[in-house]
Symmetry: C2
Subunit: 304 residues, 2 copies
Amino acid sequence: MAKAAELSSWNDGAAKSAIVDFVARVTDQDGADYVAPSERIATFDNDGTLWCEQPIQVQFLFLVERVKGLAAQDSSLASRQPFKALLERDLKTLQTLGMKGLQELFAETHSGMTLDEFEHLVNAWFGSAQHPKLKRGFTRVVFRPQIELLEYLRAHGFKTFIVSGGGIDFMRVISEELYGIEREHVVGSSAKLQFDAERGALTKLRDLQSFDDRETKVLNIGLHIGRRPILAFGNSDGDLAMLRYTRAGKGARLALLLHHDDAEREVAYDRDFKLSPLNEALDKAKGYGITVVSMKRDWGAVFD
Amino acid sequence: MAKAAELSSWNDGAAKSAIVDFVARVTDQDGADYVAPSERIATFDNDGTLWCEQPIQVQFLFLVERVKGLAAQDSSLASRQPFKALLERDLKTLQTLGMKGLQELFAETHSGMTLDEFEHLVNAWFGSAQHPKLKRGFTRVVFRPQIELLEYLRAHGFKTFIVSGGGIDFMRVISEELYGIEREHVVGSSAKLQFDAERGALTKLRDLQSFDDRETKVLNIGLHIGRRPILAFGNSDGDLAMLRYTRAGKGARLALLLHHDDAEREVAYDRDFKLSPLNEALDKAKGYGITVVSMKRDWGAVFD
């Protein structure tokens, strides 16, 4: 039997039982559902699953700081869209930008530098930035029950991965410190890279290589991991393909969906969150065999 | 001091000393060159570095079997190029096909099936196929000194990766058994994938996603690993960018280049091997700080 003592921030109930029972089954060498450690792949979305994505995604706040920094160097930026709207907090215009405008913002602010230079920028930002609502550093907006779950899974021989729409280079800067997840176990959205042999450096280009959302999460699992997860955890429709892919494998599988229904301790949202809605996945969870985790009901604590 | 006893198939000499000294330095917690375990990334080319690539690359022999199998199902294949040349062992025509013809052969024979189906095909082939010269299964054409080196590095906290022009899905089928390298630590050439949500399966498409050679090896290290290796091992000009990228990092770095100069125990070849020549890397090894490993001089044994 797997021990559940480590999951101390999880309330007793169906979700916790599903996790503990699943881990017990796949680690029982004499059981029909035994899975060898090399195949114990667990994939987690990041924004809204491992850390708080409200009122706005963490990387978007980094992006705002980058635009401010770039505008200080190049005053013409402040008069060009979509930068103008961002700097003037013109939410109405920002909402009309759509995916294309958002990608333009990321392309401009996340390119034209080496990977090392980008890492320095991200590190410096994490060192001083504060979450606007929680009033704490962004390294402390992770969900405590999820940290316990990651450690619990690894203690039972699982390999834990992030598979997220967030920037792969952005998340890798903090994934080991925050989650104990190695850089090479981080899968995310990526820009094309260029190798400068003389400088021996990799440079981030403007062109998007992969927007790691929806079906693309599954494609990138195929590319980066090469094995179907036996456990996956998400919180939005963007995770549904990954959850279905996980469930479709033979043998014991566990797909988990976090429902942000706790207005008191975090934020209650699902269908109305435009950037990353939870609609289809919530409607079809039961039919697809997905276990819904209620933040309000299933988590005894949310943050540290 | 790191122990060298495990490298029993390596002869004493400059190459072995370079390895043992390097590992001792980066693992000495009190030394100036200490590297934390999470950053001890070692990348290895596969064909010609970890296993024998002569007289022909292993995956190419699998490809020939696939063409024969497909021709048995579809007789029109035997009259179409480049399949005709392959089936008729028409070397003259095959040599004129170039990269485009070769990619056509791979696209036709490695697509149109799920990842699971492809794995079954590869596994079945490895179960019966024999190396034409060594007269043994392909799981036994690995270089014994390299297996020792991989184990030696892992025993000293390194994470070992394959970064090869070989097919990522092909190598993953045997990487754990042959090399103790996890599937998620295999980087290689890849086809685009498609997710079929209803079947819950990933399908291999004809389109190339990445040909993992030369500079692309470095780009894929950036994508898959997100960290510059501190040790890299290759055997051809296709590995030079990876070796230079590795050497260009700060602190202790080791770049190794295997020279196939042992006609008696394996094959002596370098500049004349069209598929994967060793020219520029050999000429510039000294200037770039690359340690050349002579199979004849530095390896006490080649195969098991």
